[in-house]
């Protein structure tokens, strides 16, 4: 079992190599690394040797094409088998690997590709059309690699299969542990999405946390249901299981409880890592839906993304006959920091206890430690291996995330006498919907481009399925009223330009958007109106 990597002994260090060539070298070459099931449950597999050779070809493609260590390459693909070799190949080449949700709209794509000065994107033809519309505004983008390229390639488009098939299958990564490796964008309450940068040594935290929380055995089959464009999908859907030499299952179809449980049963899944929203969707079906499945092989279910309600835990015990272990981390932390895990007793509703290498503290407004059971800022002592090393192009915002050598997570929480951490909310305006962070500013900026909208304010509100939903207050241009057709137009506008995740669940027309004297939307006031709570101090509110 590999638990803690001795990075000091490895001057050259590369996540891609560790997940492939290193595993081959320790005798796992013929073991299945990834078994992929498409939506019709047709299967395709890559062994560790396959993954090593194919990712080497991808690395050779990138270096042969003139890209350099430190350039950024993005993967803009739905879940597919090639995702793994491309991601690992980018890492091996020394380029920085970024991932994009396949349902991102044009503005979300532009913000990320432009900010990162992306040089190359791996995608499919249909999806490439969205990038081609932006191509004149992306001067650094030199190559679009199509997995399904054909004779009708346009401009900088090239075909993946024909490019890599004759490339050498050997490649020696030349990166160091402190070199940049992964770029993932996350939303804040102000400004555009921020590029969160991790280095190759993040693997040490990812691996040790996986061992401590998931506790896999060599022969276990593992399924992480997260999209690989999300931090969980990268850290625990690609890197952790491969670095541990496991066989993992991936499914490319849409959510359907019967299909999912069929996969758990047929593929003998031992460890399942999923999200509360998915579990809440499962809960909507009759208990009997799951009674016909043999889940005796399944050892443990883990959850991440947003807080796991006690009701889901109880449902898991009652219907699935399994406890569900909630875990907590963020894009910035790169790896799990707080979790429920055996043999600790689960306290339903708590995210669990800090991992052995994590020092978590609850701090007050002056960044002083608070007594147990007091709500404050959830912080982590800086310095763990997967701690982000910067926000791309935003050093000042990075500095603001640290006080007294503690990383400020932006979550509000309390810690009880036994060390269990309890989530209480956010101390900023970021909306957590289905485990994904949505920036109210990003949605507001998008909607202000609509001809019909004069002003807008966006907040998150509690939702029984999504944890939080996006609620939009709009001031329409004179003479307009909020018809159902206009509400739909607003929703589709956000879905197509930002993301379906950012789509307003509710749109409320108002005469005025409350602002403070410096013109900033007073989302606190909007939330108080929506929730019927005390708005607090309104002395800074702009007067009529």
């Amino acid at each position: 079992m590999i638990s803690i990597l001795k990075l000091d002994a490895l001057p050259l260090f590369n996540i891609g190599h560790y997940c492939t060539g290193f595993q081959v070298d320790r005798g796992l070459g013929s073991k299945v690394a990834v078994k992929f099931l498409d939506h019709q449950l047709n299967t395709a597999e890559l062994t560790y040797r396959d993954l090593d050779l194919r990712s080497n070809q991808v690395a050779n493609l990138l270096r042969k094409s003139g890209f350099n260590i430190g350039d950024t390459a993005f993967i803009y693909l739905p879940k597919c088998l090639e995702f793994y070799e491309i991601f690992l190949g980018i890492l091996k080449s020394g380029l920085i690997a970024g991932t994009l949700f396949s349902n991102f709209g044009s503005e979300a794509l532009f913000d990320r590709l432009y900010d990162s000065k992306a040089r190359i994107v791996f995608t499919k033809k249909k999806m490439a059309a969205k990038i081609m519309r932006l191509i004149d505004q992306l001067p650094y983008l030199k190559m679009i690699v199509l997995l399904d390229g054909d004779d009708s390639l346009e401009g900088c488009q090239v075909d993946y299969q024909s490019l890599i098939q004759n490339l050498p299958v050997d490649f020696s990564p030349q990166t160091f542990a402190h070199d940049s490796a992964i770029l993932q964008y996350t939303s804040g309450s102000t400004g555009k999405p921020k590029g969160v940068l991790h280095v190759h040594k993040a693997l040490a935290s990812i691996s040790s946390s996986f061992d401590e929380v998931h506790q896999p055995l060599d022969e276990d089959t593992y399924w992480c249901t997260a999209d690989p464009a999300w931090v969980t999908g990268i850290s625990y859907g690609i890197i952790a299981p491969l670095a541990r030499g496991l066989t993992q299952i991936q499914y490319g179809g849409v959510f359907d409880p019967l299909t999912w449980f069929g996969i758990i049963e047929k593929e003998n899944i031992d460890l399942l890592y999923t999200a509360p929203t998915v579990l809440r969707m499962m809960m909507q079906y009759e208990d009997e839906t799951y009674s016909g499945f043999d889940l005796s092989q399944l050892k443990r279910i883990y959850s991440v993304g947003e807080p796991l309600n006690p009701e889901i835990y109880k449902w898991g015990v009652r219907v699935l006959k399994h406890e569900i272990y909630d875990t907590w981390f963020q894009t910035e932390t790169g790896a799990i920091q707080i979790a429920n895990r055996p043999p600790l007793k689960i306290k339903p509703g708590s995210m669990g206890v800090p991992l052995s290498q994590t020092e978590a503290a609850i701090l007050d407004e002056n960044y002083q430690n608070l007594a147990p059971n007091t709500i404050g800022k959830l912080t982590l002592k800086a310095g763990w291996d997967s701690m982000f090393v910067g926000y791309l192009n935003r050093p000042e915002i990075y500095q603001e995330k640290f006080k007294r050598d503690y990383y400020l997570s932006g979550d509000l929480a309390s810690m009880d006498e036994d060390g269990y951490v309890w989530f209480k909310g956010r101390d900023d305006d970021v909306i957590n919907t289905s485990g994904h962070l949505v920036s109210p500013f990003e949605v507001e900026s998008c909607l202000l481009e609509m001809d019909e909208i004069a002003d807008v304010g966006v907040i998150g509100a509690p939702d029984p399925l999504l944890w939080e939903k996006v609620v939009t207050y709009v001031k329409l241009k004179p003479e307009l009223t909020l018809s159902s057709a206009l509400a739909l137009k607003i929703k589709i506008y956000v879905s197509n330009r930002v993301s379906p995740l950012a789509t307003p669940a509710e749109i409320i027309a108002v005469d005025k958007i409350p602002k403070n004297r410096s013109g900033k939307v007073m989302r606190r006031y909007l939330r108080s109106i929506y929730n019927g709570t005390d708005p607090g101090d309104l002395s800074t509110m702009e007067e009529e």
Partner: protein, 76 residues
């Protein structure tokens, strides 16, 4: 009675793809981005466009675009 071509136009708007043409055999797995989030949006767009309403029970039964088309036409 609406045609599959008319329904395709709604898909094009919701999924921001002017070239998207669905067939009756299509499922959510055949259209990029058709997930639980966009499904809600798609049904709202269909309701708005054709002046109909779906109930929760029938929404769960939709397996294909053909099912959706039949349901729409049964309400017109």
């Amino acid at each position: 009675m609406i045609s599959i071509e008319e329904l395709s136009k709604v898909f094009q708007v919701v999924f921001d793809d002017d070239e998207l043409t669905v067939t009756e055999a299509y499922t959510a797995n055949d259209v990029a981005g058709w997930d639980s989030m966009t499904h809600v949006l798609l049904l709202s767009a269909i309701e708005e466009k054709f002046g109909i309403e779906f109930n929760q029970k029938e929404i769960r039964k939709f397996q294909t675009v053909g099912d959706l088309l039949n349901s729409i036409n049964s309400k017109l």
